[in-house]
């Protein structure tokens, strides 16, 4: 934990060093806003499968918040470290590199809370149609679901990054992954609007628990039973992803050490 905090501190200092850059990054998360504009024009003719103007606003602004708190971009750093050999130094330290990358991935989050927290309150007060369930218990569960979402995404990305042990360009795999994620998580289109069969199928994949689930939570659309079930499935996925990640990590290390570090 001490090691994590030291790594976090260093990455946080990087964020402070480049605060303007982080702000610009935050502003570049515009996909939910574009989707919102599209759906609003469609919804003018009437609600789509129960989604009206207000639902779309609440959904995509929640998606914007969730994306800001769970999105991570460390795979680019990881890719360059693996290709340029900096990973070798990490392997020679008495700390698993996963601690470094997790700290690095989380380091911009406090900054985003600082900006998005007040912005959300302002939006809740002044934006007509925005309805989120903001009672303390629901917010607490929402935070737990964000942590789960962040861990699933981190472990997925880290596992993809580890493919760099075998292939030179793990980033192209990441592109394919992002496409899948955007569709299957509800980031682009609410999962409720998918045909029933597909929707149920997506419920059992990890993607829903990285976006749609926290969003639905914040919107107050889930019953108590659905929330418990969702949290359970989410954290089973966290554990499963961790298991897969460790397996790939061990195989990758063996390969790396055999063919040249």
């Amino acid at each position: 934990m001490k090691k994590f905090l030291a790594e976090f501190r260093a990455s946080w200092n990087l964020i402070i060093e480049y605060r303007v850059m982080v702000l610009i990054w935050m502003l570049t998360i515009v996909l939910p806003l574009i989707m919102l504009a599209v759906w609003l024009s469609i919804a003018e003719k009437g609600a789509v499968q129960g989604y009206d103007r207000s639902t779309f606003i609440s959904y995509y602004l929640a998606a914007l918040v969730v994306r800001n708190f769970t999105g991570m971009w460390f795979i680019w750093e990881m890719d360059s470290e693996m290709r340029l050999g900096a990973l070798s130094f990490r392997l020679l330290k008495p700390m698993d590199p996963i601690v470094h990358y997790l700290a690095y991935a989380c380091s911009s989050k406090p900054f985003r809370v600082l900006i998005l927290g007040p912005a959300s309150i302002v939006a809740l007060v002044f934006l007509p149609g925005l309805t989120w369930a903001v009672d303390p218990l629901n917010i607490a569960v929402f935070v737990v679901s964000l942590a789960g979402a962040l861990l699933i995404l981190f472990l997925m990305q880290y596992t993809i990054g580890l493919m760099g042990f075998w292939i030179t360009r793990s980033l192209s795999v990441n592109d394919a992954w992002f496409f899948t994620y955007s569709l299957a998580s509800g980031y682009l289109i609410p999962l409720d609007l998918f045909p029933p069969g597909i929707r149920e199928f997506l419920w059992y994949l990890p993607f829903r628990y990285t976006m749609s689930f926290p969003v639905e939570l914040l919107m107050g659309r889930l019953s108590g039973a659905e929330i418990l079930q969702g949290i359970a499935i989410q954290w089973v996925w966290v554990a499963a992803m961790y298991g897969i990640n460790r397996w790939v990590w061990r195989r990758g290390l063996r390969h790396y050490s055999a063919v040249g570090a």
């Binding site: 790594e7 990087l14 130094f89 020679l92 330290k93 008495p94 055999a258």
Partner: protein, 329 residues
Amino acid sequence: MKFQISVKQLSKFYEVHQKEPGFWGSLRAFVSRTYETVRAVEDVSFDIREGEIVGFLGPNGAGKTTALKVLSGLLFPTSGEVSVCGFRSFDRKPEFLRQITLVMGQKNQLIWDLPASESFLVNRAVYEISHSDYLDSMKELTELLDLGGVLNKQVRKLSLGERMKCELAAALLHRPRVLFLDEPTIGLDVTMQARVRDFLLEYNRRHGATILLTSHYMADVVALCKRVFVIDHGHLVYDGDLEALVERISPVKYIRLVTHQPIGAADLSRFGELRSVEAFKATLAVPRERTSAVAAQLFQLLAIEDVTIEDPEVEEIIGRIFTERLLSK
């Protein structure tokens, strides 16, 4: 006597796939790859005692860096045994990693966009260095490497020399007992090279640390290492005293003469191989065992102002080892 580093019949082979240049080459490589085995290190054995400084000599691609990587635990050996501080390197146990360090002159482990002091704080936590040990280490390294004023500048704004000093400090913060240094002085100017050498000697003297280093600068090896390994095409072709190596490879010494009278080449060439001759100066290469006898004869023959007897430059000798492959099996 227990050895701190013990290597037995170490071999490390790689499979490297071959690709012919151009589009068709790429296509062919895509369909069926041909692999070639590179024997980076083959059947190498040696032992190093605690506190020894040993230099690894060899041309580019001889296998020096591969050997260091195997020793530090980054690569696992194809065959053979490697023990460092009583551990199998490749297991990379935390207790092992806390006792070693690897510095690569061409790579950098400091956080590029932050001051070096930030990287030190991370290392302090990662190596679980206690507060008082950290202060001790920092004080010592700041003094020996003259780090004042450098620590709080962003790493990317440091000069190469300043950065190398910070790299060394970051790598030694946890007071490792074994140092693996791959070209620690590469790219540095002569003064800075000398500083790094003095620092390494002092660190070795104070903490009894074992150092294994590679360098292309002979001055590093001469100043630091009594013992050298010569590695060529993956084979260890020499393990021993640097001085003994010089004697073995170069059975001659140089006699440099300054005379009062003009020198005729004919007079001198019967004493040895005449390396250079000017009006009042000459250099003769003479077999080692005959140097004093020859010098005495020269005094009788010529009106001599000054005579010096020297070993050939180590640089020259090492150059000959590899161009003429004098030690090859």
